[in-house]
Amino acid sequence: MTGTLLLGLGAFLASAVETVEALTIVLGVGVVRGWRSTLIGVGAALLVLAALIAVLGPALGRIPIGGLRLVVGALLLVFGLQWLRKAILRSSGYKALHDEDEAFREERERAAAAGVDQRRGVDWYSFTVAFKGVLLEGLEVVFIVIAFGAAQGRFDVAIAGAAAAVVLVVVVGVLVRKPLERVPENTIKFAVGLLLTSFGIFWAAEGAGVDWPGDELSLLAVIAFVGALSFGLVRSLRRQRLSAAPAGAGA
């Protein structure tokens, strides 16, 4: 039960943050070059993503759970550590924070500067940028949904969590008609990194033959451990950065 709830939360948060980024790209192109070709690109990308889940999901369901958890857990762990590493570097000031407003401005400038490539009634610049943006951001969500769904055997929860986030972000985006720069994106990415890494440790170790003390409840202890480790590393790196900065320089 605990694992299933956290799984839904993880899929929701990961999907929310990727949808915010995809929305910024789509808005940047659509506002400048028009909506028809942009939305065709979005639709095509969503079809590809849905097909990936529809094909890979049931196929993974046929693999024995022990081997599946080992492979999926290991991939999720390596993938999650990437998210966590970047989040720690951002929180400690070693990497710039992601700024949706800035990304939106850059996307609009690129869209305005790009030449006209109109064939068969489609603006291919708008189509390609929207298609690539949604596909690449969505691929991370699909990976997480498939990994979570397969390892826990709950595709319904993983898909529902991800879909709820997409609907919420898109509805809010359509209402405000600008990028959602107030979404605490960097904090959410930190939380997603924590959850991916913790689920990865839990499932990969289980796949390697470990019997976790307390069974599924130990997942909470793993999350607490990874959380404490991450915050400790952020504090340590902040101190390191400040002590390395020349006297009088700003943080």
């Binding site: 080992l70 290991a74 993938f79 990437q82 990976f143 170790a205 033959g209 019997d211 976790w212 480790l229």
Partner: protein, 68 residues
């Protein structure tokens, strides 16, 4: 061949990212965990420990490059 290489490169960047040492450490940690559990040792603690060391090491390398 170029497309196959580009396809492989995409998935490598997608899963492994900037620091392959982290992925290698996770792989090694899982092999050791499998060996220990096979020998009857309850090695649930090993993977969290490996992750802690790998993450700290990766961040140390990343910030050393940045600060120099």
């Amino acid at each position: 061949m170029r497309y196959v290489r580009a396809f492989g490169r995409f998935w490598w960047d997608f899963i492994v990212g900037d620091d392959w040492v982290v992925a290698a450490a996770v792989g090694l940690g899982l092999v050791l965990t499998g060996i220990l559990t096979g020998l009857g040792v309850d090695a649930w603690w090993l993977l969290p420990l490996v992750v802690a060391l790998a993450l700290a090491g990766s961040l140390r390398r990343a910030t050393r490059v940045t600060t120099t």
